[in-house]
Amino acid sequence: MMKEITLGQYIPGKSVLHKMDPRMKVILLVLFIVFIFASRNFVSLGIMAAAVFFVLCISGVSPRLYFKSIEAIIMIVIITSGLNLFYGTGEPLWEWRFLKITQAGINTALFIAIRITALVLISSVLTYTTSPTDLTDALERLMKPLSKLHVQVHEIAMMMTIALRFIPTLLEETDKIMSAQKARGADLESGNFIARIKSLVPILIPLFVSAFRRAFELAMAMESRCYHGGEGRTRMKVLKLSKRDYIALAVCSAVFTGVIVCSIVLPVTVRTGM
């Protein structure tokens, strides 16, 4: 059961996207999200959707995985589009008591479906093509200016890295402890609410004990390798923007410009926040 949960679902590969500087990927992802939200008509949204599709194609990640990430949010898409379907104004195409569907409603529903799907897909591209360590590295560098405001950027990034690293370990540990307690007849599935909470004690206590043990061991291991925080620490792999990052930036800028132009020139079809 636990094994099926995947987090930080990095899929190793050799595509251009895998090789890109993670900082550039994070920045471009933020811009993609902004422009997907900023699109107010089908043409600009269409440009963004096409751009997302292009990115998916060059990511070298199996389409099956993208379908999976859509599958996870399909209910949200259906519910939000479904609701919007009935909220349109104008001439009703279909009516039943207080429910009516208008052309505008259909447009909004379709628009929202495309928008959410595009958002989810482009975000999964980042997690699929960037390893968790690269990602936290990038975030650390991008948040660097915040250290002027006495935000402990390095420490935050280190904590994120460690947390990500230990998620699978702790899941595995939970699985083992659950099996061990079940083997001693622990009943995790039946009983009322209180009984179920109580039945978690034999799992949570060993889990906490082991998490602390691992934390102490890790701290010891880090100190014996002279870790002393971020100050003056250099990196083995220095993030460096390369030609491909600038090309990606240029291409994306062109797309974004197109979206801006279309949004200004063409009429707004959808007037909704989400």
Partner: protein, 298 residues
Amino acid sequence: MALLEVKDLSFTYGEKTAFEKKAVRNISLSIEKGEFIGIIGHTGSGKSTFIQMLNGLIKPSGGQVLLEGKDIWSEPKKIRNVRFKVGMVFQYPEYQLFEETVEKDIAFGPQNMKLGAEEVAKRVKDAAAFVDLKPELLKKSPFELSGGEKRRAAIAGVIAMDPEILILDEPAAGLDPKGRDVLMTQIATYHKAKGNTVLLVSHSMEDISKVADKILVMNKGDMYAFDTPKAIFSKGEEIEKIGLQIPQITKIMIGLAKSGFDVPTDIYSVEQAVMEIMKLRKSTSDILLKAPEGGAGA
């Protein structure tokens, strides 16, 4: 009727996905009451998956596990009763300790069996005695014990359920050589005293060959062999080929046989080896004694 019968048992991880992996493939065997079975195999050979199917922690993807002739999954709601009959000690069992005192932790299993307070107390005492935990330790917190004591307390927690079949997954892993020997002896003593069935998973052929009546060798999810230690080690070289260590003494005997000495190669204990080599010395010394006579005659 066999106590435990496994029929065509298989397990596939991630069925119908790209990560599909057969962990256990069509294993069939039967285990009688009172047998001591050793299970060996590489990491990833399916040992752990196999033993977890025996007490219903993992539901097989194919085949059946029959306990006293009855399929353990015939009534999924009563699977807990199977777990009381087939006790399982996992690797590093000390990490499952959670109660305030050792006593309470050992009592967790028996209490889940809904036994009376007196019976629970008796079982805790007996189980602690089996693993040689001193009575004064029972009132301590399990987290205050030493590594070896924790391990024994955790094993007592399973023994206290008085299972008909006791399965131990690498019980000696991470212990020092002395702790290892003590634990193995305790398990052997427990098996003798209770007369119940024990399944012991181990990497160490040495440990297993000393105590097991039969050995199950697993290789890449398949049952490679299931036989007496003697029969298994007579195929010592084949066993080495699938990457498993055979007892050092067996290796010595194979080596001797290869260099022309007339010794059997299915030896797995030092005592047996000594006997065989003594026999050999006797016959060689006969030759040596005869030789000068022959020389004199010429």
